[in-house]
């Protein structure tokens, strides 16, 4: 038996090992089939054609809303038929953009705003400048500046914003009334007092937590906090500025103190583990487990759908005490839309991109349907825009000139991930020397960017 097995068994592991290497290598090899970014489309935009549009929305109501917009576009452009493909994430998108081919998309969109640097610098998204010039669009007059900023990289405009997200403060009005708090806090020092006042302990846990400050508290991530301080991620030479700009140290210090004041990291982490899913009905703000939450404009609709039994208030997030004049600003991001450089129907694709991003009716109806912030000035002011008082807060944040988003980088959001990772280390007490930690993190960010260039 053994002798027989000796002859049978040995080759199998070798083949499996070979298969492992082959699989890993092949996956990478497959990426060799690539296309180049080109401009100068030659297709006739008036010819009868079919284009393919990939988007990431998957919920039935969202898919219906985008289809209705596409139907309106087809009515206005009877020669162009649009094949809509939903539920596309960045991974699928990247693969299609690399592989090319006739089955690939013509119009592409992504929720990952921070990937714009990668998309523009690599040529994965087509440079839209020739099309914008041909259509004589003055983008500065059409689209708010922060949204224009996060759809270009180092002067290359490879995308346009397709609705936006604005982040602000949600608060439980009933809990505020009970605690005798009259209005939402406007500065971070006021915020800390309010958060403590709203916190009700229960044994070694909480009956109600004023605010979950940890970086795993869903949207309370480093870059969302940082938007409420005047800051610059990079200096004029493109080097990481996080160790030199005092705003970063201020934010990390403030957040750590807030954690300590609200019960300490371990106690908060234990409590966080009782929270439901961010996108489900058991979100801790909706269940009353936390009284305040940093979140995007979508939370309003989600909370109402979940049937919360308290009144919800919305406000901008507080700002640094010495920057009180900038109260009203917030973090912005949103969906970006562009054209696959390998598309053979780029002019027709541009017609769809232009329609979805600049036609007021299209932008307003889509914003109304999916409760996002419109991405043009005209749509923001449109009388057709459904605005309730809670949602107006986010429209104002979107138009605030101080609202901001992290700058695009050649390696996408890697620098934010690196900084966030440092945040985890610092908030948990694994790193105690903030200055040295920020310096080391800045070095890492610079090294990663150098590697990507």
């Amino acid at each position: 038996m053994s002798g027989k097995s000796k002859n049978v068994i040995p080759s199998a592991p070798r083949r499996t090992a070979a298969a492992l290497a082959a699989t890993a290598s092949l996956a990478l090899l497959a990426t060799a089939c690539t296309g180049q970014s080109e401009s100068g489309a030659t297709d006739d935009p008036n010819a009868r054609t079919t284009i393919t549009f990939w988007h990431g929305w998957s919920a039935p109501a969202e898919a219906k809303a985008i289809q209705e917009n596409v139907d309106r576009f087809e009515k206005a452009h009877p020669n162009i038929t649009v094949k809509v493909v939903g539920n596309i994430n960045d991974d699928k998108l990247n693969q299609a953009l690399r592989a090319g081919g006739s089955n690939g998309p013509d119009v592409v969109s992504s929720f990952t705003t921070s990937n714009i640097g990668k998309f523009c610098s690599s040529g994965a998204f087509l440079d839209l400048k020739p099309f914008i010039e041909k259509s004589k669009l003055d983008l500065d007059k059409l689209i708010p500046k922060p949204m224009l900023d996060y759809t270009q990289f180092e002067g290359t405009r490879c995308a346009l914003p397709l609705l936006g997200d604005a982040y602000g403060l949600y608060y439980n009005k009933d809990a505020f009334d009970k605690a005798g708090i009259k209005s939402p806090p406007k500065t971070w020092s006021e915020f800390a007092k309010v958060a403590e006042k709203l916190t009700v302990s229960k044994g070694d846990s909480y009956q109600q937590l004023g605010f979950m400050p940890t970086y795993h508290g869903y949207e309370t991530v480093v870059d969302h906090y940082m938007s409420q301080w005047d800051h610059a991620y990079f200096d004029k030479d493109g080097k990481s500025n996080i160790a030199k700009d005092p705003a970063f140290a201020e934010m990390f210090t403030y957040q750590k103190k807030l954690i300590d004041d609200l019960g300490g990291f371990q106690k908060l982490e234990k409590y966080r583990n009782t929270f439901g899913d961010e996108w489900g009905a058991k979100h801790p703000f909706q269940t009353g487990q936390v009284a305040m939450q940093l979140d995007g404009e979508w939370r309003l609709g989600m909370a109402k759908d979940a049937g919360v039994d308290f009144e919800i208030g919305t406000a901008p997030m507080p700002v640094a005490d010495d920057e009180a004049d900038e109260y009203g600003k917030g973090f912005l991001s949103g969906t970006i839309i562009g054209i696959d450089p390998q598309s053979e129907k780029q002019n027709a694709a541009w017609e769809l991109v232009k329609y979805l991003t600049t036609d007021t009716e299209a932008v307003v109806s889509f914003a109304n349907a999916i409760h996002n912030v419109p991405s043009t000035f005209a749509a923001l002011k449109s009388p057709d825009l459904k605005v309730d008082p809670g949602f107006k807060t986010f429209l104002d944040i979107a138009q605030n000139p101080h609202s901001n988003t992290p700058p695009a980088s050649v390696n996408g959001s890697t620098y934010q991930t690196t900084l966030q990772d440092f945040g985890y280390q610092y908030e948990s007490g694994k790193v105690t020397d903030l200055k040295a930690g920020l310096e080391k993190t800045a070095e890492q960010i610079d090294t990663d960017i150098e590697q990507a260039k």
């Binding site: 290497a21 990426t31 690599s122 997200d165 795993h216 480093v222 966080r272």
Partner: protein, 313 residues
Amino acid sequence: MPTHTLRAKRRRSALRTVAFLSPWLIGFGVFFAYPLVSTVYFSLMKYDGFGTPAFRGLGNWAYVFNDYPLFWPALRNTLWLVLVMVSCRVVFGLGIGLLITKIKTGTGVFRTLFYLPYLAPPVAATLAFVFLLNPGTGPVNSVLDGLGLPTPGWFTDPTWSKPALTALALWGVGDLMVIFMAALLDVPKEQYEAAELDGTSAWQRFRYVTLPNISPIVMFAVVTGVIQTMQYYTQPLVAGKVASGIIGGSGQQFEPGYPDKSTLTLPQLVYNLGFQRFDYGSACVVALVLFALAMAFTALLMRRRGGLIQAGD
């Protein structure tokens, strides 16, 4: 026979051999040799998947080994899983196999019960485990707490996250159980009878009869287990993402290898570098490290196996 006729005969024979080997040769070339050479080539290039590759020399290697902060934690985790998870799976699979072969009644039911978890899709199984082991709301900690036992943080605690993944792997040990069961049933009964007549204990019968007979299967389980663990991707990624609470959203940064990089594995780095950061060169470096590790482990185990068989024989 004239020399030229002999030569022609040999040439025809060689051609025939090559023709018979050609399916394998084509498969080997297309699916192994060429990708391997390409991976080595791209590991020396700067390439984002869109432009033209540019020569970078050993820059990617230096970056991965010296400057990429996730590489060493991922390597340590992968080695931990190879050593601990594979060992536990083999021992557990063998134990269950032994148990099943000893059961006299309801064998079919138990075989099915132990095999079924293996059929569960990895994502669904991982999600279920994360919820079961949730330190705040999961039933496992509720029971432990009720019994007055310590309640670990499981997937939220860097000390417990890999043991939790190991528990998940043990739950799905049905594949090994079936293989071991077949091997155990194949051990000649006469050898056990002879050993019993010699007055051996149960442990001695296992050590000197069972183990030598099934040692090739044990080695097969270990080698394939090592290679599978080198490719371990879905379970740690899903567990880390779900347990962290950050599963994606506009502007969100999830923590790779949550908690504290403890669930990061090398295949995750290949994906992160190649398909998320568009740094194909560095991704190829990590893929080659994986390849070298798999080869080294396999070579080591095959050498050890030779000794084991001799001892058994």
